[in-house]
């Protein structure tokens, strides 16, 4: 391994003995403000205290919009226009980061402080080879071209890339996401930095890849004694790899402490709520509970005079709204920002106790509603001159769905699960094979299309793209009602009924999609799909863009709709826990093939196919006393 130790100040520290040594990185009372002169300033980060010691991993946990990426931007001195540090301090070793000149600050980046970005595929310049990235970086670190190549190849080998020389000459877009992330990790560690900031490094990767990347990161971190700030939204992942954890909500650290302690005994109502909203994969099935609403956006911050979580908190009292609580030291190496510690163990009981879907699986009717019979889909590529072989997206898929049955389809990206859904909906034509509805094959003409959409409906992954931005919720939700066949009053009545069923406030009727939140948009999508009471709903990754608490709301909604409308569901998801929460039966797809199927509980507890086993092993276990497979080595 190349060692490119920097000559700067940080080397002066003596070898440390844990708590006694001065922290490597420390934020005290850090507050970041946004807003120009004529607008009320918004405190994007408020009074953030963090301590990171040498060789430790500090997890920063929060849902999207909590401000966790903002911290990275402060450290990199790259706040967006209009944002500034209003108060507090930020120390890196002996250096005051906030007092550094732009130039000095930049010279730290890529040397003592390195970043691992969120979207590896996007973070490599498409016009530069991997080698060019290394050459540029190593020239800056002062290596000659010859040494540089050697060092780069060694670094690539270090991140477990098997053919470094090949990769060195390739472009980022020729590599998979996981490979890109390895390359970026190699770039980050090549200068042997003291601090690495990993901003959701696995958020855009598949589950199995996530395991590889995290174990790699952990191994490199241990070997170099690097301190890592690990930003993530996954509580369980953080519990596995972090020493310390801080939970961020709406720009504030609400709770802080050793990862294991905090995971096992959450104290802040928000942390508890996060736990309660997360579907579990191992252990008993339990109903999800989630606080109502969602995290406030920046414009709402000034209105939140007290605790920022109070409006959603089940145990909030008047005092919570009066003034912002302080982050108080609890004495046992933990800190909490709540004036009612211990008032709640778990936030709110399930709004309506959902029943375990797994217990219902036996009562299903025998005659299948939908039958997929040996369906194959091959995508042809290129024009008439190209002889490129087609891409088999789905290969000989056969299965059936009974009325009222909830079936899950799991697999990673590229497994063909989305294509399968689109084939059933009729958005793609199967290359071979048949799809039968009520035992009658679905044809391609207009009458057959009407028969299909009367029984099958689809909810798209991206709620924003699936809603016409110019039409109101009223128009969108009642889109399936044919114009001319229903009166205006009927239309409105039906829309109101659908909104109530999907838990949307009635004033949503006149809103357009950009005026709603992500969760509300997805509810509108579901409401539209249910408008004509179909018998089968296909849901394609409908919660993957949503935060955990909103996801829980949507999942519970689906369970409730099941009893209200008696629909069947084909839940396409990469998230095994989500499928386990909803579905009695599951299909596992891998490279276009259904490799395993059966009762959810049976498949997940006794997986037969190696790929299913791999998928399951890649999940961080809920019981943190268990060793997570990727870290076991």
């Amino acid at each position: 391994m190349t060692t490119l130790l920097s000559p700067l100040a940080l080397q002066d520290f003596a070898p440390h003995d844990d708590a006694a040594s001065p922290p490597l990185f420390e934020a005290r009372g850090l507050t970041v403000q946004a807003g120009s002169l004529h607008e009320r300033p918004v405190q994007v980060l408020r009074d953030v205290n963090l301590t990171l010691r040498r060789g430790q991993v500090l997890g920063l946990i929060g849902e999207s919009g909590a401000g966790k990426s903002m911290l990275g931007r402060v450290i990199a001195d790259q706040l967006p226009d209009g944002f500034r540090v209003a108060s507090g301090s930020l120390r890196f070793g002996a250096t005051d980061l906030l007092a550094l000149s732009k130039r000095k600050h930049r010279s730290l980046l890529g040397r003592e402080i390195a970043f691992i970005p969120q979207e590896p595929m996007m973070a490599l310049n498409p016009a530069m080879t991997i080698g060019a990235h290394f050459r540029e970086h190593l020239r800056r670190l002062g290596l000659s071209a010859g040494q540089g190549r050697k060092a780069a190849l060694a670094a690539l080998a270090d991140v477990r890339i098997e053919a470094p020389e090949t990769v060195y000459d390739q472009y980022g877009f020729q590599l998979s996401g996981g490979m890109c992330q390895r390359v970026l990790i190699a770039l980050a560690f090549i200068s042997n930095p003291d601090l690495v900031i990993a901003d959701e490094p696995t958020a855009s990767l598949d589950v199995t890849t996530q395991g590889h990347i995290v174990s790699l990161l952990r191994a490199l971190q241990k070997r170099h004694g690097t301190a890592v700030l690990f930003i993530t939204h996954q509580l369980r992942l953080a519990a596995q790899i972090c020493d310390q954890v801080a939970v961020l909500y709406a720009g504030e650290v609400v709770e802080e402490g050793p990862a294991r302690e905090l995971f096992l005994h959450a104290r802040h109502p928000y942390t508890c709520a996060l736990h309660a909203a997360m579907p579990n994969f191992d252990g008993e099935w339990r109903a999800l509970a989630s606080p109502s609403g969602q995290m406030p956006g920046l414009p709402e911050y000034p209105m939140l005079t007290g605790c920022r979580f109070a409006p959603r908190c089940a145990s909030a009292i008047d005092a919570c709204l009066a003034e912002p609580p302080v982050l108080a030291d609890c004495g046992d190496a933990r800190a909490l920002r709540c004036i009612r510690p211990g008032a709640v163990a778990r936030n709110a009981e399930a709004e309506n106790a959902e029943t375990n879907p797994l217990s219902q699986s036996k009562q299903l009717a025998a005659a299948p509603l939908l039958k997929v019979d040996n369906v194959t889909k091959i995508f042809r590529r290129g024009g008439w001159l190209s002889r490129a072989p087609g891409q088999t997206a789905v290969s000989s898929a056969s299965f059936s769905v009974a009325p009222g049955e909830f079936v899950g389809v799991v697999g990673e990206s590229g497994s063909g699960k989305s294509t399968l859904g689109r084939l059933i909906m009729g958005l793609e034509e199967p290359s071979t094979g048949r799809i039968l509805l009520d035992d009658k094959p679905l044809g391609g003409d207009e009458a057959e299309w009407r028969r299909r959409i009367a029984s099958i409906q689809f909810v798209f992954q991206d709620p924003r793209a699936a809603l016409n931005p110019r039409r109101s919720t009223l128009q969108l939700v009642t889109q399936p009602l044919q114009p001319g066949q229903v009166s205006r009053q009927q239309r409105r009545a039906q829309a109101e009924h659908m909104l109530r069923s999907t838990g949307l406030p009635l004033d949503t009727l006149t809103k357009i999609s950009s005026q709603m939140s992500g969760g509300q948009r997805q509810r509108v999508n579901i409401a539209r799909a249910l408008c004509n009471t179909p018998r089968l709903l296909i849901a394609d990754e409908i919660t993957s863009g949503l935060d955990v608490s909103v996801q829980a709301q949507i999942l519970n909604l689906l369970l409730r709709l099941r009893s209200e409308f008696d629909i069947a569901l084909l839940m396409i998801s990469h998230d095994l826990a989500v499928v386990r929460y909803l579905c009695s039966r599951v299909l596992v797809m891998w490279k276009g093939v259904i490799v395993e199927s059966g009762e959810t509980e049976a498949v997940f507890s006794r997986p037969q196919h190696p790929y299913t086993r791999e998928l399951i092993a890649a999940l961080p276990p809920e019981d943190i006393s268990k060793r997570w497979a990727p870290l076991a080595t």
């Binding site: 959409i453 793209a465 699936a466 889109q479 357009i512 005026q515």
Partner: protein, 291 residues
């Protein structure tokens, strides 16, 4: 911060629309009222008073406020009558081009397949002509005349509309709300009119208003070469061609006719630009909120 920007953009757009539309309306008004406004018949020759400078200059005559051309015709009156052709061309051509181009584009983008492919090929072939060359050749084939000028301009320019609108339709088709509408049971016509047309309307409106200026330019180019309207009809393009011949002795008629065209083109572009700013979805969203 974002709202502030949107408001600024809206105001900027409104200003441009007002300025642009006002000038274009003036041109139309002048064209309609030409017989009452013009002091002379535009073709009346006064061979004793040729190449007079504007009245306020030495040797000028207030009977000819903007001077005369090489045949002693009144430049001011010709400018006023020239607005007639400009107004006709500037209304009929944009509407015609938009109807032809947008219809084909939406059909082509929505239907896809072989129809879309053949339309794209046709547009490619059309576009391998420099626009000037194609319109000149078309005018040679069609023989001069106002109707043919309009026809030729539409035949040349529909491809530009078609290509831009089609690619925007294709972009919209990738969005899932088109599939969602289809699943919700919307008919093909319904999707085209409710989901596609509103989506491309801002582009159509912008293109159409810019086309006002282009139509006037094309007419002047054709006049310049001598294959435009019937002889005897004064147009700004004819005035440019005449003026260029006598540019050494008297540049006046050239200056005035060029200015007339430039101002018309600038107003058309301002109108288009302003509408683009105002129709920006981010801005119209804001208007909706305020309403």
């Amino acid at each position: 911060m974002k709202e502030h920007k949107a408001r600024h953009q809206l105001r900027l757009g409104e200003g441009r629309v007002i300025v642009g539309a006002t000038f274009l309306l003036i041109v139309v008004a002048v064209a309609v009222c030409a017989p009452w406004l013009a002091p002379h018949d535009p073709n009346e020759q006064d061979l004793l008073q040729i190449l007079l400078p504007p009245a306020w200059l030495d040797g000028g005559d207030w009977a000819y406020p903007l001077g005369t051309d090489s045949l002693g015709r009144d430049v001011f009156s010709r400018l006023i009558y020239g607005a007639r052709v400009a107004a006709i061309v500037g209304t009929v051509v944009p509407v015609g081009t938009c109807l032809v181009g947008a219809t084909i584009a939406i059909l082509s983008g929505y239907l896809g397949g072989i129809f879309d492919k053949s339309i794209s090929r046709l547009v490619d072939i059309w576009m391998s002509f420099p626009a000037v060359v194609l319109s000149l050749v078309l005018m040679v084939g069609l023989s001069p005349g106002l109707r043919n000028v309009i026809l030729a301009t539409i035949l040349v320019d529909w491809t530009r509309f078609c290509r831009i609108i089609r690619s925007s339709v294709i972009g919209l088709m990738k969005l899932e709300y088109i599939s969602a509408a289809r699943i919700a049971g919307a008919s093909h016509v319904g999707i085209m009119t409710r989901d596609l047309v509103p989506g491309v309307l801002p582009i159509i409106i912008t293109l159409t208003s810019v086309e006002i200026g282009i139509a006037v330019i094309v007419e002047s180019v054709l006049s310049f070469v001598g294959v435009s309207v019937e002889p005897g009809i004064p147009t700004w393009g004819v005035m440019i061609a005449d003026g260029l011949a006598t540019v050494f002795q008297a540049p006046w008629s050239l200056i005035f006719s060029v200015s007339a065209i430039v101002l018309t083109v600038l107003s058309a572009n301002m109108l288009g630009d302003g509408l683009r700013l105002m129709l920006d979805p981010r801005v119209s969203e804001r208007r909706r909120i305020e309403a």
